[in-house]
Amino acid sequence: MMDTITNFSPLSSLSPECSRRRFLGVSGVLVLGASLPVQRALGQTAAPTTFAPNLWLAIDGDGTVRATVHRSEMGQGIRTALTQVIADELDADWSRVEVVQAQGDVKYGDQNTDGSRSITQNYDRLRAAGATARLMLRQAAAKHWGVAVDTVRAGNHEVVHAASGRRLGYGELASQAAMLPVPENAPLKKETEHRYIGKPVTHVDAGDIARGKGTFGADFSLPNMATAVVVRCPWLGGGVKSIANKPTDEPGLVAIETLDAAPSAGPVFAPLGGVGVVAEDTWTAMRVAQGLNIEWTGSPNQTFDSNELRHALRDAVAKPGTPVPGSEKGDVDAVFAAGGTELSATYETPFLSHAPMEPPVAVADVTEERCVVHAPLQDPQSARPMIAAQAGLTPDKVEVTPTLLGGAFGRKSKPDFALEAVELSKRVKRPVRVQWLREDDIRHDYLHASSAQHHRAVIDDEGKPTAWLQRSAFPSITTVFAAQAVQPAPWELEMGFSNLPYTVANQRMESAGIRPGARVGWLRSVCNIFHAFSANVFADEMASAVGRDPIEHRLSLIPASGKLKQPGQPAPPGHELDFARLRHVIERVRKLSDWDSPRPEGVGLGFAVHHSFRSYVATVLEASMANGRPRVSNAYVVLDCGTYVNPDTCVAQMEGAVVFGLSLSLYGDIALKEGAVVQSNFHDYPMLRIAEAPATKVELVPAQGRLPAGVGEPGVPPVAPALSNALFAATGTRHRTLPIRA
């Protein structure tokens, strides 16, 4: 049955990190997409030494396996996990596997590293890729020995004929395997045969990172490269009117370039424009940029005020909005009119900035023939045609290679910063690195949307809602993509709003949108942040209104079995919200947190649960007030993400999600006045620091055999409501607005 896996000790990892596993930034040279052997395809007769049966792996004559990872590494461990999948089915020796980072190329299929779906989308195909190669190696060995294929087996980088005791290494077999036709439907291993999948493997980049050798965006350089800092208009859509003091004789200054302004509405990923200061080194560029006196042109966004937006969002949820199609059940209004114990509450959340530790940065080299970009991009493939257009080239002349991403959280899905580097390289005719300063990052982000929710319910004696009306209002991400867009998109509402998993006979959901005067974008778990916050706190309010235990109460709202039928688009088969799995993580977090044991006076436990990115997460936080500030002493998290590849990574992502969630719960607050972001750096946009980080226990539900689901994002949504509920339990004060300051 389901065993408990608690905080894996990575010391038990299968192998230590391997120094040979370098971040190879080249692909497409030997890793062939075609199934034809390399040299035969070229009309040569000599046997090829590299066996590359598909896009995902190549085996050299010396036995080195090169696994191609087409997703971007931003801390979620994807370079390790995808390699685990390939190497497992290949039965490769982990110490002989190197990771090759793929360039952006449509041949790989979707490379957009967001939505917590890299494993979900690639688990089956990468298993098949590895299994295909393993079968071909067996076929090659069997042919060589003149025995039947089913008499030889593969294991740990070699093929063995047990009857005769003969064995051949993968490297020795590479040439012959490369001559074979690529079979279809190669058999996959049984789950019990997995050697890397489901095991805690040390991250492939861990050694480089701990030695300062990892190559992040700013660490990549090209000969004769210049560095640029761009001064951008404080408001979206403004351009350069004049530069009052253009220096000309500054040592090390290369150029001062005026860049076109982005559209004031629907900018998509266009660079914001401004003044690019290109210099021989970063400090010169920073110093000159800081000294510029620039007058900007106006834009309709110049009057944007986030406080006014918050009032407007609050007003929007105080009145009927646009009903979510298919969400209405029974007759909410009739129940409200009939009276009873009624609860209503309004919740508010602010704009947030991603603030990855690595600010946006990109290196571009544009010539008349080609364009090369190295940058921390979440989606090098979709960036490629945009880069081509900026460079004035066709996409086939453009190479886009992701470096390691020093955090991203959705920010680096947008390649605006890479386009700046391309434009400046084109202008100054040499390689250019564009380095965003932290101030640029905080002030010119694609902000996580500010929001308001209103919940109203009539509850019975057990706190169960007989009627539940919920409204959500926020500036939609679609406003970035279309100048006329206003309403939240269905996919935004499906993030924890229209797919509320509780049994209610009478229910209505309404939404409203408002166009913001700033770019909004997706931040780790997106709309789930505010939807999980309001729904979980409101449920807690229902429980407390009748004096019920919050977990007992919550379980009473969830059916014992079955799957949620959500309004709108049904979930993909196998990924429907399964009530039993939701209940299971709740039951387990109750046990893990020792929920039923009383805490000292002034210390409270708060519970929240949320289903997002196809995964189930239940979180309990233990909190109190200390010196007028919330203090979280312990965190307990249970994750069911279906089949997992690297359990230690899953645990780490939950640990990190607690910290990420607490940062936004306690500090995250971006304000805009006169179109400009008020905050600028970590002194006024603080992050949680180590002394505030709670001890964290994580349990991973073993669910191998189920479809693999998301891990990077789903730990975040339950944190803020669990904190609010814990502080209510500790102090009796209800917090309905984020951040919770005191």
Partner: protein, 156 residues
């Protein structure tokens, strides 16, 4: 003008303006890119190096103030702190890894002065280093392990 520095035991002569922060000297002029830019304001600790053994924010140090001082960076940390680097790897501390050079430089300076730190000591010494991925619980565990102690855990 030229500035004579001692970086990782090597004497180097750097020709930059005296107000250039050490961070950019290391990264742009010496190719030591393990030290990271995170905020430029001394808030985040990504640029932490050792100056005469003390964990110091290199983004705040004009190069003109550094002649005669011994500067050490992440690139040579393993020579002096192999156990710390090993526990960092073995515990899979890093997520994105961008802040970890700074975390390791702060952690090693702590251990140099306090070989058996408590969790409270760790929190105090590491509070200047932000990790946006939230690896703090593993940072505590790895430091304690490197110090030969069993990991204890939570907020002190």
């Amino acid at each position: 003008m030229g500035h004579k520095l001692n970086v990782n035991g090597d004497a180097v002569d750097i020709d930059v303006s005296g107000d250039t922060p050490l961070l950019w000297v290391l990264r742009d002029h010496l190719g030591l890119t393990g030290t990271k830019y995170g905020c430029g304001g001394g808030y985040c600790g990504a640029c932490t190096v050792h100056v005469d053994g003390a964990a110091t924010r290199s983004c705040q140090l004009p190069v003109s103030t550094l002649p005669g001082k011994a500067i050490r960076t992440i690139e040579t940390l393993e020579d002096r702190h192999p156990a710390l680097v090993k526990t960092w790897i073995d515990n899979n501390v890093a997520q994105c890894g961008y802040c970890q050079s700074g975390q390791l430089m702060s952690a090693s300076a702590l251990l140099d002065g306090n070989p058996k730190p408590t969790d409270a000591d760790i929190d105090a010494a590491m509070t200047g280093n932000i990790c946006r991925c939230g690896t703090y619980v593993r940072i505590r565990a790895a430091i304690r392990q490197a110090a030969g102690q069993t990991a204890a855990g939570g907020a002190g």
